[in-house]
């Protein structure tokens, strides 16, 4: 019987040579006369082990990683394909690796196990059971199930998904839309990318269910152009879903319709803001719109529109399969379900950790992350993307929970955790926050457009020792103006990382580091 060998096809594995390794494995097997079936699976999210090559054995899948193309020869010499474990890269049975075993994977239950482009794989692993249930429910019943789950928007704003859907359901119109926000621009986040590259049918299923719930027949995935591999995989998966009657008219013989198109952004961070995204989808500059009206009432092309993040929509198939209560049974307080945390930056074991809300940041960074990659002391942690606070050591006990983070003037956002060791210059980081806003501001409102430019200048003056005290005061005022006066979260949150540096690392902002 043919031996199944798995080589991941996601961006991270490929960025470390997975394609070349796949080619070498095939060539080596051919020259040795070994019958193998090479599967390009998704990633397990254990990214420090990528490329993580797996072999199917009677006991489960055996892993080898991180493999480089130089290792392929020795892997064969040591009979890795027969399940021999003596190679130094052998990590044992993959599902027994504590990093993976200690997670609670609801959304990422299939990631890395299946071939992302195989509909059969998807169906064999519980795929489309949620849709089957939704097809025999009313829109209101589906929305109620989502409300029961307690799911809140995973893009960062944490607005209750069920309530958003209810608004769209209750707004009568012949045309409504489901828009998936796949403009995952926050540095330190890649969970959306993993969903799209490792389990695209889950997102398609979630959007289809959303369409059934609110009465929308057209969906768009607005994908950032920085994700070329996700684009290829999503496009192919969408075609397959159409071919097999999971998209289009008369879905699974139900007389219900849902069409889906993948649209590519063009390198603008602001288009992750939902109203800017809608303008971009309409073919315009991605300028932020004033709210109200809410997109749920006046959204894409002026029609009622659900705009949800990839992770929110990806949670839907589970909720409709197992029930909203099963999802709500995970979590703490008002943060229900699981949160896919992304451990990134200067981290030893970087990757995706999906757990119920309630674990402490410290536990994540140490028990899972294993500390810094450099081995130097950890100094600061930025959670929630470029608009998130830099947390000093005394805040690392904060638990992963929307309310716990906001009580620390921090944001959980999309769940990205970026770790910095003691070589970081926090003054540089504060400056970068303003610089980033200067580059990415849509320009519509003054506090954001001009405030960010002035912010960079004021920080430069402070760091050059120019009238430090009065410029410090000016920076405080500027931050306040941006928070209070900006139209959207870009301008109003840019001060968060700056203020956290001013509060917790003031000396590094006052004085330029001496090399």
């Amino acid at each position: 019987m043919s031996i199944r060998i798995f080589v991941p096809s996601d961006t991270t594995a490929r960025s470390l040579g997975a394609d070349q390794i796949a080619t070498l494995i095939q060539a080596e097997a051919l020259s040795r006369g070994i019958d193998i079936t090479l599967v390009r699976n998704g990633s397990r999210g254990l990214l420090w082990l990528e490329p993580l090559i797996e072999i199917e054995t009677d006991n489960g899948r055996l892993g080898f990683g991180p493999v480089t193309s130089n290792d392929v020869q020795t892997l064969f010499e040591q009979n890795f394909y027969l399940g021999q474990t003596q190679h130094t890269l052998c990590v044992g049975l993959v599902e027994q690796i504590p990093y993976l075993k200690n997670q609670q994977r609801l959304t990422f239950s299939r990631a890395g196990i299946t071939d992302p482009l195989s509909l059969d794989d998807y169906l064999e692993h519980d795929g489309y059971t949620g849709l089957d249930n939704a097809l025999i429910m009313t829109g209101q019943q589906i929305v109620d199930e989502v409300k029961t789950s307690g799911l809140r928007g995973r893009g960062g704003a944490a607005f209750p998904t069920g309530i958003k859907w209810q608004t769209v359901l209750d707004t009568p119109d012949e045309q409504k839309y489901i828009v998936c926000n796949a403009d995952e621009g926050d540095s330190g986040t890649f969970a959306d990318r993993l969903v799209m590259e490792c389990d695209p049918f889950m997102l398609i299923e979630g959007m289809t269910i959303a369409g059934l719930a609110v009465g929308a027949t057209q969906g768009y995935i607005y994908l950032r152009s920085e994700y070329p591999i996700a684009h290829q995989i999503l496009t192919k998966a969408t075609e397959t879903a159409y071919q097999h009657g999971y998209l289009g008219s008369n879905i699974r013989g139900s007389q219900k319709h849902f069409n889906l198109e993948v649209r590519l952004g063009a390198g603008a961070y602001i288009c992750g803001e939902e109203t800017s995204l809608l303008d971009s989808l309409e073919g315009k500059r991605g300028l932020v719109r004033a709210k109200p009206p809410l997109p749920a009432i006046v959204g894409l092309f002026g029609k009622p529109t659900v705009v949800n993040n990839v992770l929110s929509l990806a949670a839907i198939p589970y909720i409709l399969n197992k029930g909203g209560q099963a999802y709500a049974d995970y979590g703490v307080g008002r943060s229900r379900g699981t949160m896919p945390i992304q451990l990134t930056g200067n981290v030893k074991y970087g990757g995706l950790v999906e757990l119920a809300f309630g674990i402490s940041l410290n536990k994540l960074m140490n028990d899972f992350g294993g500390g810094t990659r450099s081995g130097r002391p950890l100094k600061a942690v930025q959670v929630g993307g470029p608009l998130g606070a830099y947390l000093p050591e005394n805040q690392w006990d904060t638990i992963i929970d929307y309310e716990a983070f906001s009580s620390e003037q921090a944001v959980l956002g999309h769940g990205g955790v970026v770790m910095f060791d003691d070589s970081v210059d926090m003054g540089d980081q504060a400056r970068f926050a303003m610089e980033f806003c200067k580059v990415e501001s849509c320009g519509k409102c003054t506090p954001c457009r001009i405030g960010s430019t002035r912010g960079v200048e004021v920080i430069d003056r402070i760091r050059a020792g120019e009238r430090t005290e009065s410029n410090w005061q000016l920076l405080e005022d500027l931050c306040e103006t941006m928070v209070d006066g900006s139209l959207c979260a870009m301008g109003s949150m840019t001060p968060i990382p700056v203020q956290s540096v001013m509060k917790f690392f003031p000396d590094e902002l006052r004085h330029e580091r001496q090399e």
């Binding site: 330190g188 063009a266 992304q342 970026v418 970068f432």
Partner: protein, 163 residues
């Protein structure tokens, strides 16, 4: 990528006509034209405006808003260095400096030989294995200065092979 003269306006019109009925078609149209020509030359702006019943200002406004669209020819390879915080924490500032020094260009510039255009990018989603760069549609992780030099050498060789 095409040099001037290797593309034809009638093909541009065809691209526009194929896509313009899509709701909100301008971004798909611009992507398709950039895919065809390599950039979006100024003289196609009036054609797009004409075909899509938009003003030139609207079309120009969209092209200039998005970092991904270029209104001038780029090098054979577009090399993007990730400037996101996750990459900063593992040395992208040093990599950035190294790249500018060794290529002898700044961001948004092209090497004299025409093989490389350097661009900043704000996150490639490869944040656990940075510093990351993107060369056309290929993303590379854990890029040290030495690895960067190797990759740039490949870019130059491809250009030489292509003549």
């Amino acid at each position: 990528m095409k040099t001037p003269g290797q593309w034809q306006m009638k093909n541009v019109r065809e691209i526009i006509q194929q896509l313009k009925e899509k709701p909100g078609a301008l971004l798909p149209v611009l992507h398709a034209i950039q895919q065809y020509i390599g950039h979006i030359p100024d003289n196609v702006v009036p054609v797009i405006a004409d075909e899509m019943l938009l003003t030139r200002a609207e079309v120009h406004g969209v092209i200039s808003f998005y970092a991904h669209f270029h209104n001038h020819p780029t090098g054979q390879n577009i090399v993007e260095i990730c400037r996101g915080e996750a990459c900063q924490s593992v040395g992208c500032r040093q990599l950035e400096k190294h790249a500018k020094n060794t290529l002898n260009i700044d961001y948004q510039q092209t090497t004299d030989c025409g093989s490389i255009t350097l661009e900043p990018v704000y996150c490639l989603g490869n944040c656990a294995t940075g510093p990351s760069i993107r060369i056309n549609d290929d993303i590379h992780g854990r890029v040290t200065p030495e690895r960067f030099d190797e990759l740039m050498e490949n870019c130059r060789q491809h250009l030489q092979e292509a003549g």
